[in-house]
């Protein structure tokens, strides 16, 4: 086995896995933005919260699988509550109010997390089944990365099926492209909003659990990964799922190969990529809406 090829493959797997996690996080952001026209600045905080919940569930039950089930659901419920009881109330005051509200919520969550769990980074063990490598075609693949890619693909496919094959999905897509029209069709938009918000935060939660064993759990998670997901949304174009997927993968790969070749400056690569795209297309690659 040629070590150079092995290195490329390993980095590629890391990049792909990170890209898929970014997609899980970014797709929620972009869906919520597309539907409601607001950027949920608390989105990454939900992601971090879910990583902590994952740590806590494992600490109580010892089961990663249970954590993977429970943490995102709890996160999603908190997201729904935020939409229902806070965001909806301030909708009338315009976008700036909504944005600042999500900033407030993210501060409260971030600080609460520090109160409950402290600021040290906490380790999360992956179950034995997912440890180690599989060998195929003379190359080694880390199982956990494969698992993340697989899990994200399943979520992506289910999401696509719902969006493109069900009536609900049709309503959501219509709402993303034209919220007024859906209102005119007599559909309960607030309910759909709440649902999308819930699903979006749930996906952020899944991403949070997925990242926990890789990066460990610490308050800075929201900043570190959140900013990357944010770049994905901006570059992909607000409201564009396809754009989010494509750019998430590009960013994941940029990140992992960047670490290999320019190590220190790897995070800068993503920003440069973003700057180049935005200079030519201020609304992102696939974005049209203002």
């Amino acid at each position: 086995m040629d070590p150079v090829t092995a290195m490329y493959v390993a980095q590629g797997m890391h990049g792909l896995a990170y890209g898929m996690i970014l997609f899980l996080l970014a797709s929620g952001l972009t869906l919520i933005f597309g539907m409601m026209g607001i950027l949920n600045l608390a989105h990454a905080t939900f992601f971090m919260l879910s990583a902590y919940l994952c740590y806590q569930v494992i600490a109580w039950t010892g089961s990663f699988w249970l954590a993977l089930l429970i943490a995102p659901i709890v996160t999603g419920i908190i997201g729904v509550l935020l939409e229902r009881f806070l965001l909806r109330k301030v909708h009338a005051f315009g976008h700036i109010g909504e944005l600042i509200l999500t900033v407030g919520v993210s501060l409260v969550i971030l600080e609460s997390v520090k109160v409950f769990w402290g600021t040290e980074s906490l380790p999360v063990q992956i179950p034995n089944v997912l440890q180690g490598l599989v060998t195929a075609g003379g190359l080694d693949y880390p199982i956990y990365r494969l698992f993340i890619i697989g899990l994200s693909l399943v979520i992506l496919i289910v999401l696509m099926l719902i969006l493109y094959k069900t009536r609900l999905g049709m309503v959501v897509r219509a709402a993303v492209s034209d919220a007024d029209m859906v209102d005119a069709l007599g559909i309960n938009v607030p309910l759909v909003f709440m649902l999308v918000f819930g699903v979006g935060t749930w996906m952020a939660g899944v991403a949070g659990v997925a990242i926990a064993p890789i990066l460990t759990v610490f308050p800075g998670l929201a900043d570190q990964v959140g900013m990357d997901a944010f770049i994905v949304v901006v570059v992909g174009g607000f409201g564009s799922l396809g754009g989010a997927l494509l750019v998430a993968i590009i960013c994941g790969l940029l990140n992992s190969y960047g670490v290999q070749f320019v190590s220190q400056l790897a995070p800068v690569l993503m920003y440069i990529f973003m700057a180049i795209v935005l200079v030519f297309k201020p609304m992102g690659l696939f974005g049209e809406r203002e």
């Binding site: 005051f93 109010g97 409260v108 520090k114 973003m274 201020p282 203002e290």
Partner: protein, 324 residues
């Protein structure tokens, strides 16, 4: 005539208060006051965009940080660099950054404007962290010599003395806020307000909207830079965290929202409120930002016009009741 007298008396009272402040409250509270004034200037310059032109930016920390790093770098690398040029170096660095960005920024509005700033602000943060040999990474740049404020042959003030720095900072910060206030009263300031109200009609009155926005943008950036420069001098340290972090970008938005978005003095009240809040909460808890978050949620939910707006509303209610 009475009004003019009253105005002068108020000015004089404010002036005397500031002179006596360090004597009355001591050095600790003088430093608290300097911090408040720095953020007041930062938020006021920011509000030139948000409140007056209607542009929401999520990345103004890049101007604050660039101003701070500009001054810090100038003082670190050029020995014997005087105080005022160092301050101007910071402001100039921020203005140049704004000048570079404004061709992109004036083309977009609304959400795209906000997001582009968040993105470029993030870029500056990462650069400040990663270009270690220039910026010092996480540690930042600190310990540079603070030159005295001197007019050669006449007078020299030692800026490492907190009391003398207090007076210097007040002159710079309040002077800057006054310039911004004056700016809103000039013909150009009128055009600026008109752009917020109805950019299309401004075009049809023979004023060029993108150029107007660009000038305001650079102006706002430069004065955020002044705030950053004073901050660097005050702390004798600037780090990526303080200078460029996303929370530094959100700070002026929070101050403006809490103080009152539609008014020139709103952001100043906002800084005062947050300054007092921080003073009070740090006595009991380390989680100051938890309190900030709760206050923010409370204000958005129940007093979306902020302090100034709410006071105005109460005043109007009071007067109508008196009238009846």
């Amino acid at each position: 005539m009475m009004n003019k007298m009253l105005k002068w008396i108020l000015w004089l009272a404010g002036f005397v208060f500031l002179i006596l402040y360090p004597k009355l409250f001591g050095i600790y509270y003088s430093n608290v006051f300097v911090t408040f004034a720095i953020f007041a200037l930062y938020a006021t310059s920011y509000n030139l965009l948000l409140g007056y032109t209607g542009l929401l930016s999520f990345g103004h920390a890049m101007f604050f940080g660039t101003g701070a790093y500009g001054t810090a770098l100038a003082l670190t690398h050029i020995s014997g660099f005087p105080l005022i040029p160092a301050l101007l170096a910071g402001a100039l660095a921020a203005a140049i950054l704004a000048l570079i960005l404004c061709p992109i920024m004036v083309r977009v509005g609304g959400t795209a404007f906000a997001m582009l700033h968040l993105a470029f602000g993030g870029l500056m943060y990462v650069l400040a962290l990663k270009l270690r040999h220039i910026t010092g990474g996480e540690d930042g740049i600190g310990g540079f010599d603070i030159p005295p404020f001197s007019i050669p042959g006449i007078v020299s003030f030692d800026m490492t003395d907190p009391l003398q720095f207090f007076y210097f900072a007040m002159v710079v910060l309040i002077g800057s806020i006054w310039i911004l206030w004056f700016f809103t009263k000039t013909p150009f300031g009128q055009i600026m307000i008109a752009v917020r109200d109805n950019a299309k009609r401004v075009d049809y009155l023979g004023f060029r909207v993108p150029q107007t926005k660009a000038v305001i943008y650079v102006f706002s950036g430069a004065f955020c830079g002044v705030a950053g420069a004073v901050y660097a001098l005050f702390q004798n340290l600037i780090s990526a965290e303080d200078g460029f972090h996303v929370m530094t970008s959100f700070a002026p938005i929070m101050l403006t929202m809490v103080g009152g978005i539609g008014s020139f003095f709103g952001p100043i009240f906002g800084s005062a409120i947050f300054g007092i809040l921080e003073e009070l909460t740090t006595r009991y808890t380390e989680r100051v930002e938890l309190v900030f978050g709760l206050v923010l949620i409370f204000v958005i939910m129940f007093a979306p016009m902020g302090f100034v707006g709410t006071v105005k509303m109460i005043k109007e209610k009071w007067f109508t009741r008196q009238g009846v």
